[in-house]
């Protein structure tokens, strides 16, 4: 499996994503600078977390106008897999590859902690290694993770199974207190209708070894490997 990690000037989880992909796929990902207008032929493009351009404007807004974006959109259009984690998710919504927007956390504060997620759809390219309804622990770290979409979009996401990850309590209930940012319907991650583009606020790349406090993030990468077998 060949992958590429795109780096914007203030990406800061690019190395973490690179390391996780290298470690779990056994192959060294390409490193793509945001100014590169061409991306090698790969199975997966990953947009990592961070602050891309400082995010003084809306998060991801400037990144969504970088030269590399056209190549990413083309890759997605051809059915290639794209993942965006945290700032990467924000970029994907700004690009229009995923619907909705990520607003400031309802607490108005940055939040970094490990949250529980329920895997609701295990038929996607990115979740097939989990079991349906499984509650996993994954860290979040963001200031703007409050997912918002209009009612029609939400309805579509809900009915089509486009919400693979939802914030839940340890017991698996989508309560307000389990939601770190006030996102609608406790949405933690969404997938496009075609099933090849996924964005999520939590960071699976931060939890792939016991030393990091757990390995629940591995399933995310293992799913992609399964898909591309």
């Amino acid at each position: 499996m060949k992958s590429a990690v795109v780096t914007f000037p203030a990406s800061n989880c690019n190395r973490d994503m690179f390391d996780a992909l290298e470690k779990l796929t056994g192959k060294t990902p390409y490193q793509i600078w945001h100014q590169d207008s061409e991306i090698p032929d790969v199975d997966l493009i990953a947009l990592p977390g961070g602050f891309s351009f400082g995010d003084y404007l809306r998060c991801g807004a400037m990144a969504a106008r970088s030269p590399a974006i056209k190549a990413i959109a083309l890759h997605a259009e051809r059915g290639g897999n794209v993942i965006g984690v945290c700032n990467g998710f924000q970029v994907l919504t700004e690009m229009g590859l995923l619907p909705g927007a990520l607003m400031r956390n309802s607490s108005l504060k940055f939040v970094c902690k490990t949250v529980h997620l329920q895997v609701e759809n295990t038929l996607t390219n990115f979740t097939n290694a989990y079991t349906k309804g499984q509650v996993i622990d994954i860290p979040v770290a963001h200031h703007d993770g409050n997912y918002f979409a209009d009612e029609d979009t939400l309805k579509m996401l809900e009915t089509n199974g486009q919400i693979p990850f939802r914030y839940v309590s340890k017991a698996g209930e989508a309560t307000a207190s389990a939601n770190p940012n006030g996102s609608q319907n406790n949405i933690a991650g969404i997938i496009n209708e075609r099933g090849n583009v996924l964005g999520m606020m939590p960071h699976p790349e931060r939890l792939i070894e016991d030393a990091q406090g757990g390995t629940d993030g591995r399933g995310f990468f293992e799913s992609i490997i399964n898909t591309l077998k």
Binding site: N12, R15, D16, Y56, F110, V111, C112, A211, Q212
Partner: protein, 740 residues
Amino acid sequence: MTKINWNNNPEITDDLVKEHGLSVAEHKLMIKILGRKPTLTELGIFSVMWSEHCSYKSSKLHLKTLPTEAPWVIHGPGENAGVIDIGDNQAAIFKMESHNHPSYIEPYQGAATGVGGILRDVFTMGARPIANMNALRFGSPEHPKTRHLLSGVVEGIGGYGNCVGVPTIGGETNFHPSYNGNILVNAMAVGLADQDKIFLSAAAGVGNPVIYVGSKTGRDGIHGATMASAEFTEDNEEKRPTVQVGDPFTEKLLIEACIELMSTDMVVAIQDMGAAGLTSSSVEMASGGGVGFTINLDNVPQREENMTPYEMMLSESQERMLVVLKPDRVGEAEAIFKKWDLDFAVIGEITETGNLTLLFEGKTVADIPTQPLADNSPEYDRPWIKTEIQPTIDAFDIPIPNDFRDTLLKMINSSELSSREWIWQQYDHQVMADTIQIPGGDAAVVRVHGTDKALAISTDCTPRYCYADPFEGGKQAVAETWRNLTAVGAQPLAITDCLNFGNPERPDIMGQFVGAIEGIREACTVLDYPVISGNVSLYNETNGTGIHPTPAIGGVGLLKDSSKMITIAPKNEGDVIMLIGECTGHLGCTQYLNIIEGREEGAPPPVDLALERKNGDFVRAQIQNRKITACHDVSDGGLFITLSEMVLAGGRGLEITLNNGNIPIHAYGFGEDQARYVISASPNDVNDIKTAANDANVTLEMLGLVTGHTLDVKNIFTITLNELLDAHGTWMPKYMSNED
């Protein structure tokens, strides 16, 4: 000799010199060094270089007495940050610095630029920053400004560290009325470099180009260093323009660009522009290398119009660096900075004159010999009086509480002992994916990327001890970091110190400073734990009242095998709980006396450094032998608080039987005797541990078992995990939600 242009130069009157914070004697010395009257720009340069903040004129006599050497120390104090050997040709580079006054005036920007400044000190030396820490002191929770300051400082630290992508992995926070008008914001950064890729600031090579990189220069922060060298008064608000404004996005670019630049062999010397900006960086680089600098100020990238030489030299605009390059490499270096969209300007060259010569619009506006400016700066032996030591309080003279349960719950629900989660959840403590011990334990731990090694880091100080007895307090601050590093299994290697005190011109304050330094010296010596970097922040007073003396210590230790690291959380049902160290029931100057009795008095617990070392070495050896499953040092609040925190961290109950002998239970449970640890171990290992303790002549006491979900101290109190969680977790969120 260069001809000075005296046009547009005001007369340098005695009043003007005084306004610049220079004394009459310093004025005379300045004229002697120059051989003439100074220009305004020169006066500005002297005033910042000789400010307390930059020159350490009140403190250096005493700082010189600190131990700074050990076989593993590569660079001690004097460089941008200290450097230690962590094996495999790798080095850890670290320093802690204060940003107190700016943070009080403008908490978000003050704290943010404190983080930015300390990060630059570390990456200037070639290191990639891998961890941020902090030590924060606020006024009383009841003070009307405290919420605003706490909220702004935490947001500022997070706002900067989160964006640059360096995890903020821990720290400490206290509240006390002595900080009502003068909070303390001390930020520490730790970086990682290869030993053969460490960069220093001493310039060399006559004719080599001097390059300015980073952000443009504006009028922000002019006289910041001077502000940090004077007492606060009522007109603080007027000083807001002296606070710098940070841009973490640019810092991130600067880190990446500098690391890329330093991976080549183009750099001769490099220095960040911190306090006193272009002045201190150019003077330190020139004087350190015994060369001169000629700088053409017209070439300095400027953000505002019509800036004068004076303003450019004194600006503390952030995210700027000065680099001396090899002569034929300018084009290559420029390409790197263009890639990162940063300003890059050749602003001068190295000369053999030994002078800092400044040109502006084709004329010379300053010409100062750098060696005497840097090295002949004033040094004072300020008069001091020894702090009067308070009498030791007998535990029998302090009432025993009727209800231990209520007392304990009240203590962990206090501003001092409650959870700091509200703070550290606003810091990205996991970015870089190497954080293996998050905040909330004894020390934070980050792996050395791609290796089995890890660095443990802890910041500590107990200001109430330092106020009661600066010598014991200084010892204790050092010993507590050493103990915290030990408790996770690390070998403590070195410290950085951030010495926050009041006005040194007052003999009682100077006495506190001298006492604390003596204590730090003694602890560092006995524990083989040298000071490799640091910062002094004096004049922390408002309207004549000083803060509690606060020598914050940041300790760094090494775990050669990070898989041996342990935390404070008991892991297994049935594990045995033991106490290492002796309990005498010292209640004077404790959190118990403070929170429950409302009394701040008595001698603090004495620190027996030999005992500290013996007990710590024993605990560490047991951790290294994988005999201990959890460990927590006994500090603020004593044994009962330690046990509570272990229950909270592990989500498992403890069943404890006390053998307090003649010691009253409140003194046994809440006393703060030093050199102690609570450990847990598998029942199979208990005999080995006991034997080893016996052989090492270490006091070990059986306390009980890990079981259930309740802290059950037999015949004294029972508290459930949920009750503890509620009491411990709610104070700060509740307090902060009252925000206007």
